[in-house]
Amino acid sequence: MEAINWHSFFFLLFGLAAGGFALAVVLSGNIVRMGFYLIMSLGAVAGLFFLAGAEFVGAMQLMIYVGGTMVLLVFGVMLTARGPFVSMKTPGGQWVLATIVGGSLLVMLLHTAVSVDDWRVKAVAEKAELSEEPPEVELSETTNPDRLGMALVGVRSDQPDPRQPAEEFGMSGYLLAFEIVSVHLLVVLIGAAYLARTKRVGSRD
Amino acid sequence: METQAIIDKLREKFAAEIVGSDLETFDPWVEITPGSVPQVAQFLRDDPQLRFDLLHCVTGVDYFEPDEKKAAKVDWEPHVEVIYHLSSMAQRHRLVLKVTLPRWKDDTPGQLPEVPTVSHLWNTANWHEREVFDLSGVRFVGHPDPRRMLCPEDWVGHPLRKDYEMPTEYHGIRAR
């Protein structure tokens, strides 16, 4: 038997953690625990990103998603988790219905995921046979953040369009999307601050 | 201002309310009727010549001798005294105001004697009156927050009363 493939090992570790904690989020009734499980799940997803070679996105997931968004969410949970709202029971009928719908959705998705032949073929395996290098070295072939950054402002280093040299710069990137997201973010932050500002509703009686 | 002048000024305005006074003793005092305390106090505080802006202290004194042998010798009837120590920072004079109350209201033991509060005039009185209520058992009518001050909320009795008996137990804690 050949050596353990560490990529697979860590994939299994993070994948199980991500899936398991995601399931725990669904099954748990306590909102605070749900928040905790969600953090663990998203952390594991960040690990999967690292495994898939997306180091920058993985770090971003940790920093913005887990470190920022989730803090906000946990904050919200803490502000509202009082008495009856900590654990809210869902009626059994909804559970059954949701399980049926969710289960069928899962079956469908899994079927798609494993039935496309191209997706099942493992490039790493073939390459590993060809080269002497162990497969994990492949991980260093990751995307440099500077390429990502260039792509964001419109310079694609990976896919220059050979047919239209004039459009090589500025046309194939994500500048517009970047701008939209930025403005969106700004609007959202102002809006959130406006919505969540202190309001005194009614008198004290 | 001399104490005599202060008392003269008081007499001018509240002739009926002044029960007695003593200017020869260590701290010259004036005794007034319980009902007139807020009016007299207001006058003392607001009159530009008097300007008693500082209330030092409110004290409750219980005059009662539980020992019958000794009680025969004392020269006073059992009563409770509430003493206000006032002074004026602006005019640099001082005065002691006294009020005599019965030990129990309507002579029914357990009914605390009552005197109007002065806590709306001097905030010092707020806590001091609570303390006097707590320890000496005088009810200050109109007090905004008439709770016990030093003893626990559910304490029974007023420790500085001369006939006070220390309870033997408090919430399972042996007290004697």
């Binding site: 038997m1 353990i4 560490w6 470190g67 946990v74 994990e136 260093s140 | -």
Partner: protein
């Protein structure tokens, strides 16, 4: 390293166990040993810091500090503390959320110590040579607050909740200027790889990025402020402000779990200090390039042992600078009063953030005007050639 052992074992070919189990075991053991070495450095540092804290506090306050345990200077005081803490009764309050209360210290601990996975101690001496190491360090260090928040909430005490709330607000805010401050050296180096950033500062101390231009010089101090705030040290220790919140999020903790939080705090102190060293203070490069003068570099064709010896010198250099950083933090703690929460937020949003942003612009302009920095670099960095080198000695955790 694991590969070497596996090849060695394969060459022996003793059929005791199935081959894959042997391989797995070897990988596991080698990995654990390497992790252990890394962890040991950090843990020993933490122990030294607790001792340092007591000694420095003692000296500042005209006392002696520990003098009994382990000789004249109380060297073994951390050990005695540890034994005391670890044998203490482990209390979980009745109102606490048991799971969160128990798990929280470990989250903080893991986050605080995972940072060292990507921190280079010397040229190539890094557990995981990450492409985005600077970003990774920031991201993981930011996760420590989950330990605090969950612990604070899980304690079921209002003081703890207050501590957790403060910590959340504070750390999330300070991550923004902190990120901006880290961005400036990253931009100058043109890489997020900490090994690269360290290497471009080789040579005389004038090559250190703090002396790159006036902007980086100011940035260093902004970074210092934000770093102290983000690891919750005085004067920004609001989450555990003992005169206001009893002990903040740690109010209900005792014994072992408390000591885990404690180690996490010192671990993060070490981490931010190490990051500052790498980003601004030349990392493992001493003020004078001794190894280069001696010719103990790979480029000079020295023997690998000498190269590693040079690296060891670099690591000593690095730890020295890091310790100085921690000492400054300890010093500040014992001489400054604590800020109020609104003042902490004001410091962040009104001072640190605009200054950091201005410095980012300033550094960009400076880089455009004087590409070589304030003093002309002896050797300009070639960013494109900086691929993660595999020549490192302690490349652990191969996954």
């Amino acid at each position: 390293m694991a590969k070497f052992f596996i090849e060695y074992l394969d060459s022996l070919s003793i059929p005791i166990l199935p081959e894959w189990i042997v391989h797995a075991l070897v990988y596991l053991i080698v990995g654990l040993v390497q992790c252990g070495v890394l962890l040991a450095i950090v843990m020993v540092s933490v122990a030294v810091f607790t001792w340092m804290e007591r000694k420095i506090a003692g000296r500042i306050q005209d006392r002696l500090g520990p003098t009994r345990t382990g000789g004249r200077f109380g060297w073994l005081q951390p050990l005695a503390d540890g034994i005391k803490l670890w044998t203490k009764e482990d209390l979980v309050p009745k109102n606490a959320d048991g799971l969160l209360f128990r798990v929280a210290p470990y989250i903080a601990f893991c986050a605080s110590f995972t940072v060292f996975l990507a921190l280079p101690f010397s040229d190539g001496w890094v557990a995981q040579n990450l492409n985005v190491a600077a970003f990774f360090v920031l991201a993981v260090a930011g996760l420590e607050i989950f330990g605090t928040i969950l612990g604070g909430y899980g304690s079921g005490s209002k003081w703890s909740l207050f501590g957790a709330m403060r910590e959340a607000a504070q750390v999330v805010s300070y991550e923004v200027p902190l990120g901006l401050c880290v961005l400036i050296p990253v931009m100058i180096a043109g890489s997020m790889n900490l090994v690269t950033i360290g290497n471009i500062q080789a040579g005389l101390f004038t090559n250190w990025l703090i002396f790159h231009d006036p902007c980086t010089f100011i940035t260093f101090f902004v970074y210092g402020t934000c770093a102290v705030a983000s690891v919750n040290r005085a004067p920004f220790d609001l989450a555990e402000a003992e005169s206001e919140l009893v002990a903040g999020f740690m109010t209900e903790y005792s014994g072992f779990r408390w000591s885990i939080f404690f180690m996490a705090e010192y671990g993060s102190m070490l981490a931010v200090s190490a990051l500052a060293t790498t980003l601004f203070l030349g990392g493992w490069n001493g003020p004078v390039p001794v190894t280069e003068l001696l010719g103990w570099t790979e480029a000079a064709g020295a023997h690998p042992v000498l190269v590693q010896l040079g690296n060891l010198l670099g690591a000593a250099n690095f730890l020295c600078k890091t310790y100085i950083g921690v000492t400054v933090m300890i010093w500040a703690r014992w001489s400054l009063p604590r800020l109020r929460i609104d003042q902490v937020m004001t410091t962040c949003l009104k001072y640190c953030l605009p200054i950091a942003a201005a410095m980012l612009v300033g550094a960009t302009l400076w880089l455009y005007a004087f590409p070589g920095g304030m003093i002309l670099k002896q050797r300009l960095p070639d960013v494109s050639s900086q691929v993660p080198s595999d020549s490192c000695g302690t490349k652990t955790g191969d996954g």
